[in-house]
Symmetry: C2
Amino acid sequence: MVKLEDIQRLCLTRGIIYPTAEIYGGLSGTFDYGPVGVLIKRKFIEYWRDFFVKSMDCIVEVDGATILPEKVLIASGHVESFVDPITQCEKCKSIYRADNFIEERTGKFVEGKSTKELTEIIVQEKLSCPNCKGKLSEVKMFNLMFKTFAGPTGEQIAYLRPESAQNIFTSFERVFRSSRAKLPFGIAQHGHAFRNEISARQFVIRSREFNQIEIEMFFDPENDDFEEFQSIANKEIILVTREAQLKKTDAVRIKIKDAVNKKIIPNKWMGFFLAKEFEFFKSLGIPESALRFRHMLPEETPHYSGGNFDLEIKFDFGWKETVGNAYRTDHDLKNHSKFSGEDLAVSLPDGRKILPHVVEPSFGLERILYAILLYNFVEDKERGWNWLRLPPKIAPYIAGVYPLVNKDGINEKAKEIFKTLKKNFDVLFDDAGSIGKRYARADEIGIPFGITIDYQTLEDDTVTIRDRDSTKQERIKISEIESFIKNKLIL
Amino acid sequence: MVKLEDIQRLCLTRGIIYPTAEIYGGLSGTFDYGPVGVLIKRKFIEYWRDFFVKSMDCIVEVDGATILPEKVLIASGHVESFVDPITQCEKCKSIYRADNFIEERTGKFVEGKSTKELTEIIVQEKLSCPNCKGKLSEVKMFNLMFKTFAGPTGEQIAYLRPESAQNIFTSFERVFRSSRAKLPFGIAQHGHAFRNEISARQFVIRSREFNQIEIEMFFDPENDDFEEFQSIANKEIILVTREAQLKKTDAVRIKIKDAVNKKIIPNKWMGFFLAKEFEFFKSLGIPESALRFRHMLPEETPHYSGGNFDLEIKFDFGWKETVGNAYRTDHDLKNHSKFSGEDLAVSLPDGRKILPHVVEPSFGLERILYAILLYNFVEDKERGWNWLRLPPKIAPYIAGVYPLVNKDGINEKAKEIFKTLKKNFDVLFDDAGSIGKRYARADEIGIPFGITIDYQTLEDDTVTIRDRDSTKQERIKISEIESFIKNKLIL
């Protein structure tokens, strides 16, 4: 099976994604996108936007600063509660995340336990430092936010936002008003978020700076109905219910409308997003067998939540949260109203004034890109090289343009075709080495088509187009290339 | 004349750009883009990319993390030198940037003076706190980088990048190699950068978190020739030479090739970017009379520089740097080679191994957006409202879609047209209030066209299209709307 190491190697050698400041040994958990990665990332975000934002008429997008003043994070609860328990070896000074450490070593489920309880378990279970057998310290809480100071005297505490959502809540009133909005109303955002992970690891899976893509969908909890729900009501998803987790039974396949009617899913908006996500990930080449929604257990869910559902993807190293779907109720707007003194309630046409409720699908971009690479990575002994079966819509380049030889005007003709295509598409020009090597290089980063210009091109204005997946070639007119490509870009 | 306050009011009320965490009083110098602002920003970046990156075959793009380990900023010189002199009132504790403070009050030019010299001037000139007349402290240096710590023990110092360029230099080797590049080779990047300004002010002009769009163009200093230079060699720019600044004479109009030949501009790449920028800003509605390049004086230029040229725009409050064009020579690659121990030299086809030289055009996005709004803001007494003459390519929406009345199937017909257009364009649907009010709202955020669906539409499938600039209307077929719009999107 394809492994993290294979993907990592591909990402490094082909300029997809690599450690930040790599020549200095990096800063663990931070990554830069290279030329190929930037293109895949940008196309992915555009596809996401088309799929989730532009397909609706009630969702707008914002883009906020990543430094936030302390007050925001006090109100949101992050200053107090965005913490992980840690324990340190008193001898070698290694640091461990206490809950994970205990779970891995004892199999005990300790989510939600206090620092005191965790310390007791370490003592009872006689756990010591796996590195040097040294004694482990009392468990204490470590805040995962990056702290900094604004202004020259250092008295203004600020944090790098641990989730992009807070910009949406604090600007809700202005956005709602300036958009002349009515409920339901969604606000989407793509941007960086930051978490000072105790141990950043598994390549991009647990990183300290990452791309988050979110929607906060605001709606009236007394009336969660909307037109688009009908389009997904009969769709099925795979769901690990709370019951299944307790009884250790299998995930169930369930219709959205049934799950909503049975109150397994708390409202129609949550159902809508789960259905859309299931469809979205399948369209990106991730099979149903590697997708499931897990209803988070009460002890994994904040007290204010009306129910959270993680979309988990089966990676080479196990199932992992990739999209968090949280029913945040009116918790955030309520707290920001209280702490800021601004009334964030909105007036409804029926005369009521309410704090809208919120359903939040929150996508972790790096994990998703990793999943896409993993499930589209083809180990191909016959072909002699590995390749990526990326959907054309998110491929870095839609086509490579290759002059068969670098003489007799063929290179010039190829350049001409390349320059014309480049006006409307991302295309790559490559005239180095044999055609076979160029195909291999293109396959490796998932370029769907290869356009070769040869002697016949000079005679009849035709080129060959090679299909990445079948490796078959067909001959088409130069004038037909654009429409050929456009037809393939409909995912 | 249009003023900062007019633009600021428009930005606030129409959801273009507003203070981050505004309900908490904000964190000065940080801003969020609202729904309209996000669209303008995104289109601007796409236009910039088409104009500067995609128009060339030798420029790729990357996207790096914004947290950088301390080592990078030590090597780049920022830990030592990215400082501003400050003085504090010993009584009321107000803080002032010492050099600006002295210049404003005495008219003396003090760029490059030491803290000791600045302190002496304060004493000699008997300068006191303008707020409370209190005594001003000794001048000391304040580092403008935001500092933070990675990992749970806090021993890993990191900074928010003060310029996005450093990610390009530290990843140069990997990007160059994975792209199979040759010189000249450009690496572009858009992303956030952070400067802990002593006094963030003038709306978005001096902000603490901002969007930077840069290209680092790497080339062989012994051979700076390239094909595309010919396309701009005869173009003219307006240049304030060093001589003109010393003799206080006017800016000159000069041909790029003459300026390069006379060594006023240090190489062809610098000339190329200056010419392109001049053209770019004019295409965005900023008149020549508000554009000039200033050759920075030696005391404003880092010691390693081969010559820096600021593109200055005349704002309502005066001329201000908006694009910095720096000839950074091989300074950065040399230092990163030295500090990291990695040899960042590249081999040339002629057998030489060199550290490439770099020309860097660095765009401050917020200042540019402000300039665009300022110069496209039309105060229109006759029309009765102000409007934006945004070029269609960067308008937030290309068209508004308006049902004349909300009955007899007109609204449904309008929705149908809206949904079709939305697949390919950003369009706005508005059915609230009189048509006149809807035109006014659309004009105010620069929507170029208004499509109205009326009773005649139901009969013959035609609509009226209103032109924002002339306010004239014409009737066209529904089937012609898309091609009408496409023709207007060619800037």
